[in-house]
Amino acid sequence: MALKFPIFMDAQSTTPCDPRVVEAMLPYFTEKFGHPASRNHPFGWEAEAAVDSARAKLARLIGARDPKELVFTSGGTESINLALKGVAEMYREKGNHIVTTVIEQRAGLDVCKRLERQGFTVTYVPVQPDGLVDAEEIRKAITDKTTLISVMFANNEVGTIQDIAAIGRLAKEKGILFHTDATQAFGKVPINVEAMGIDLLSATAHLIYGPKGVGALYVRRKAPRVRLVPLIDGGGHERGMRSGTLPVPLIVGFGKATEICAEVMAEEGARLGKLRDQLQDMILSNVEEAYLNGHPERRLPQNLNISFAYVEGESVLMGLNKETALSSGSACTSATLEPSYVIGALGASAELAHSSIRFSLHRFTTEEEVEFVGKRTIDVVKRLREMSPLYELAKEGVDLKSIHWKAE
């Protein structure tokens, strides 16, 4: 099959809509345009039925007891905001302490920083070099003022999958609520909120071949019943937790995307995991001093994150970007001008954080694409090393740490 350029291998930033998802959504823009809260005519009934059906599909995928436990939002960021701020405020009388990790995505960390400014205390638990959080570290961080533990299910950069069930058990044992940011894991790996002791779970549609602009928050209703202070007041939609007219077409798309993921998860995960391993082997066996970031086994099947010593990440992307879309932990590709805090948190040097490249595969990735991207990456890294003063010094046997660098 002929390759079509550019190749998209940045599927942990977003994914294309599955054509079946778009098809399911279309009627809800035109003929089925009703407001699901219109209780007195068929337009409303039709819209409400569509939303309920989508809600049930989401509930089924994560093993929720009741579809009502799912609240639709505008996306992962809003879900995380609602979970953290909503719980923190609702249970403020009980305590003002939150335990989270250093590798949460920006939304999680930024909400915690805001809560800190509002008088809450937050403990950011470190991770091990493989990206895993030790549940014992979380246990140590818990105080009698802790009301919430928030740990991401799978990391967006290195794909490491946490031992969510162990953290869930700990939360139950301590009587503390447990939120997981599952935006990267939902639809990709099996999740069961009952078996894993999850009280709140954030998900988004656009990472599972659904539309942008819609997400969901699972909020447990029984054992324990979780209550939240809403972020948005209004008509009392979504059990009062999230007011605002529901974006029915987006929700229908989210439901369809979820349904497809439920059907193909095992098969798709196996296929992408195999392709990912192929890409990894190809690169690691052809490039010296290329380091795998994150846990080698406990990770999302579509994720591969590698640091290439002596070359800077953005320059690698630049060598590929006419043909391939990837992402890097390099400062030059971030808005903050800091290298990846996730790679840094795994104990890698700042230099290797600047040198990290994330490959993320998706439903439409082909073996030909993987081969092409692997080959091109190897070529570009080799070319840039020939241009790198660090590589030259290392080849001469100079220990780069022995040089007194004059930082700007």
Partner: protein
């Protein structure tokens, strides 16, 4: 962020990549930046010690495309200039030539630093070996 055509051209066809042998007469080497900052430039000049004219220049850079382009451009500009003229190259000249966006201005600053460091190294070496510098 889209790159300017000139940055892309220097990235794809970098001028004067490489290193001079350490014993090259009239050599000046500047090594600036730091790996943890994501930018390191090595810039070398080969000066005709009689005329003070830079006859050749080479670079190696660890950094983003704009850092590579800034140092590549610097080597182009250095060739044929006297050491005094070379000292007048400003980072803003590089910014204008490569149309660098604000977030990439530090790449041009680093290139200017590399030029200055190479010139300083050259002068230091000449001062340490006055016989060679003043030979006919």
């Amino acid at each position: 962020m889209a790159y300017s055509d000139k940055v892309v051209d220097h990235y794809n066809n970098p001028r004067n990549v490489g290193s001079f042998p350490k014993e090259t007469p009239g050599l000046g080497t500047g090594l600036v930046g730091a790996p943890e900052c994501g930018d390191v430039m090595k810039l070398q000049i080969k000066v005709n010690v009689d005329t003070g004219v830079i006859e050749d220049a080479k670079f190696k850079t660890f950094g983003c495309g704009s850092a590579i382009a800034s140092s590549s451009l610097a080597t182009e500009w250095l060739k044929g200039k006297t050491v005094d003229e070379a000292a007048k190259i400003k980072n803003t000249d590089i910014v204008n030539e490569l149309k660098l966006p604000p977030v990439k201005i530090h790449c041009s600053v680093l290139a200017e630093d590399a030029i200055k460091a190479a010139l300083a190294d050259y002068r230091e070496k000449q001062a340490a070996a006055p016989a060679a510098a003043n030979s006919e």
